[in-house]
């Protein structure tokens, strides 16, 4: 079990920045409530994953260097987005292979902790559910499940919440079909995948689905909205704040 730090850096991700900033704020609030000082370096932009996965590594490296710079230090870097966490933890090593920054990349990689992993394995957080009865499913991203191995953590957090009923959708571990540029380059295959994902979630008759990844949420919510289905996703940080009485300061 890892030791509880006094301070962490938060890497918010570009999607949270522009689409889901409340998820970032809730992550910060939750960490602060647990007595952790959260530093948010204002120079952060994007982990570089979009270009890296598209094969444009020079461009990805250019952007990733900015994060290497602004996330320096010894404190853990908490990332409320599993795919960005996986990029920084597992793929920076490949991206900066044979580059002058190889060592810095490895140093940062070792400090990356996904948000739910931090709550469960580092903070050993205890949650008191204060919300009404609710039925939810979890969609863990492929990065959360197969690269960061944190699909268990998000569910263990929900299991602490007494009034939250967790149901499991069909083909739960399967990709939602987002895949970055895949959604554009193979739009029809992507559409077929997300249609199956939304159908599986809708069959669960849940109030909400909870996720660690905003890329999947943008994809799944986009499909749900276009089908005019009322179901939407909620980021785990927002859901936990909501269920446990919010930030006492605010």
């Amino acid at each position: 079990m890892r030791e509880k730090p006094t301070q962490v850096l938060l890497f918010g991700s570009c999607l949270i920045d522009v689409l889901y900033p409340q998820a970032g704020m809730d992550a910060i609030a939750l960490l602060e409530r647990e007595g952790i000082e959260v530093v948010f370096p204002q120079a952060q932009t994007c982990c570089g994953q979009p270009a890296f996965n598209a094969g444009y590594r020079d461009e990805a490296r250019k952007v990733a260097r900015v994060q290497l710079d602004c996330l320096q230090g010894d404190a853990p870097v908490v990332v409320p987005s599993a795919s960005c966490a996986a990029m920084m933890k597992h793929h920076y090593v490949e991206l900066f292979r044979d580059q002058p920054e190889a060592e810095a990349a490895a140093q940062l990689a070792a400090r990356i902790v996904e948000f739910t992993e931090f709550l469960v394995d580092v903070l050993r957080i205890r949650l008191q559910d204060q919300g009404p009865d609710i039925r939810v499913a979890v969609h863990s991203s492929c990065s959360a499940r197969r690269e960061m191995n944190v699909a268990v953590q998000i569910e263990s957090l929900l299991e602490q919440l007494a009034q939250v009923e967790l149901v499991h959708q069909d083909h739960k571990a399967e990709c939602c079909g987002f895949g970055g540029t895949f959604a554009v380059k193979q739009a029809e295959i992507s559409a077929a995948m997300v249609a199956d994902k939304t159908a599986a979630l809708l069959r669960c008759e849940i109030d909400r689905y909870i996720t660690q990844d905003c890329g999947c949420m943008m994809n799944i919510d986009g499909a749900l909205a276009s089908q005019q289905a009322p179901l939407r996703g909620t980021h785990i940080a927002t859901f936990l704040m909501e269920r446990t009485g919010g930030n006492e300061d605010s």
């Binding site: 204002q42 952007v63 193979q186 559409a191 919510d221």
Partner: protein, 471 residues
């Protein structure tokens, strides 16, 4: 053999709209996934076994040239004739030469993906050699003049009713039936007759043991054993990467192969061929030939970035678990090996110009990597190949051929913004301020999804405001 990938996307879309095809792939893959999982519920056990499998294959590859030499020596001293083929044409000619040396016009074949890869059947047919496939799935496809859609279950895209209808057409003396046992019995009767009268049998190979000069063949129908024992001449055709160091390497690989492929603890037949018929033996072929096919493999071997590709034992688990394959089926790929392994192997073998488009057919979800019994980092290799496709750099054929100036420009612009934190924030703030004026539709995203809703304030802004308020 193979079709050009130029139309990959078109074929994929066509497959997506074929409801019957999609349903049958989904059900078949779900079934295979369940059967495999029955053996690997214990993740620690799988990690242990796959670690061993990966180590065996990695060790063999690290000594590939010397193992192949050792293998040849052993095979020759066992009485097996070894032929080397640099490419498909040479391999086909070699097989033809052996057939002609025996004045034969007919061969019977067991299942072999390498012979699919080199297009052996078409080659022989055009040279007046009749080819009969004896694996049931391959036999069905031969009757239909179709190609395998899966490397382990070649006719997985066919329904029982389609096969019943085919048999009723081809064998009018037998009444229409969907009873699997009756259909199988019909095929068996035809094939048994052929085995009795055909003097040349062709098979693939799953593992070749350098230490002992043994060819291992894994199968379920017994046709493989018949192909390799009844005819006077047995010609085995396989890729050079299938060699392992020693006999003790085989059991762990075999255990991984059958569990990963079909969820069987062991197949019905496992053949170990170490020589032709010896003095005093009552059966077995009088001659055994091994055709060792390179066909691009030594280039992959020589490229450290992609050498892991050659660890593959062709179990098909990556295919069964691929959400893209499940939806578009094997034929869409237009390659001998579909799914993730084909997405890596085909561009390496045929070049990026011809096969690069396949690289877009992956979400990099890592379902393949997770189940690979020899730990090939398939998603990682797809990603690496995308880098080769986009930029002229490494040693892959046609590197840089996928670079479109439009996409390159888009990423240049993207990096120009995201690598400049202040510019990024200024543009972001401008975007947020004018969020109502941003496009409400952007094809192809909005063809099946609503556009995401831009926030009022960015996380950067909210954090700044919060820290000002806190002070």
């Amino acid at each position: 053999m193979v079709t050009k990938t130029v139309d990959f996307s078109a074929r994929a879309v066509e497959a997506l709209h074929n409801a019957r095809l999609r349903g049958s792939f989904r059900d078949a893959m779900d079934d295979l996934i369940r059967k495999r999982l029955d053996h690997f519920r214990d993740e620690t056990l799988f990690r242990e076994l796959s670690g061993e499998g990966a180590a065996i294959r990695a060790r063999a590859l690290s000594r590939l040239p010397e193992l192949l030499e050792q293998l040849e020596r052993k095979l020759v001293s066992n009485g097996i004739t070894v032929h080397w083929a640099e490419d498909a044409a040479q391999a086909n000619e070699t097989v033809l030469k052996i057939i002609r040396a025996h004045d034969s016009r007919r061969v019977i074949k067991g299942k072999s993906m390498v012979t699919e890869e080199i297009g052996l059947n078409d080659f022989l047919e055009t040279r007046n050699v009749e080819v009969l496939e004896s694996d049931l799935g391959e036999y069905i496809l031969q009757l239909l003049d179709e190609r395998p859609s899966h490397i382990v279950m070649p006719a997985i895209h066919k329904t029982k009713a389609q096969i019943a209808e085919l048999f009723a057409r081809k064998f009018p003396e037998i009444p229409y039936t969907e009873d699997v046992d009756t259909l199988t019995a019909t095929a068996r009767r035809v094939l048994r007759d052929a085995f009795r009268s055909t003097r040349i049998g062709i098979s693939g190979v799953n593992f070749m043991v350098a230490e002992t000069g043994t060819l291992c063949l894994v199968e379920n129908e017994g046709n493989g054993r018949m192909c390799t024992t009844i005819p006077d001449v047995h010609i085995a055709v396989t890729g050079i990467e299938k060699v392992v160091e020693k006999l003790a390497d085989v059991p762990p690989l075999l255990a991984l192969l059958t569990r990963s492929a079909t969820g069987q603890p062991i197949t019905t037949y496992f053949n170990m061929i170490s020589s032709p018929r010896r003095e005093g033996e009552k059966d077995g072929p009088k001659e055994v030939h091994l055709v060792l096919v390179d066909n691009g493999r030594s280039d992959i071997f020589a490229n450290p970035d992609f050498q892991e590709t050659l660890r593959c034992i062709r179990c098909g688990a990556c295919i069964n678990h691929c959400p893209v394959y499940t939806r578009i089926g094997g034929h869409s790929y237009g390659t001998t090996y579909p799914g993730p392994i084909g997405t890596v192997f085909a561009p390496l073998q045929d070049g990026l110009k011809e096969r690069g488009e396949l690289l877009s057919a992956s979400t990099l979800c890592n379902a393949c990597t997770e189940v690979c019994p020899v730990r090939i980092p398939l998603a990682g290799l797809i990603n690496r190949l995308r880098a080769e496709y986009a930029a002229p750099r490494g040693n892959v054929k046609d590197a840089g051929s996928g670079r479109s100036w439009k996409e390159a420009m888009a990423w240049k612009l993207w990096s120009a913004v995201y690598a400049r934190p202040r510019l990024y924030q200024r543009l972001l703030n401008w975007g947020l301020k004018h969020r109502d004026r941003l496009p409400r539709e952007l094809a192809p995203w909005s063809d099946s999804r609503a556009m995401p809703v831009i926030a009022e304030k960015s996380l950067h802004q909210l954090v700044r405001e919060k820290s000002e308020a806190d002070q």
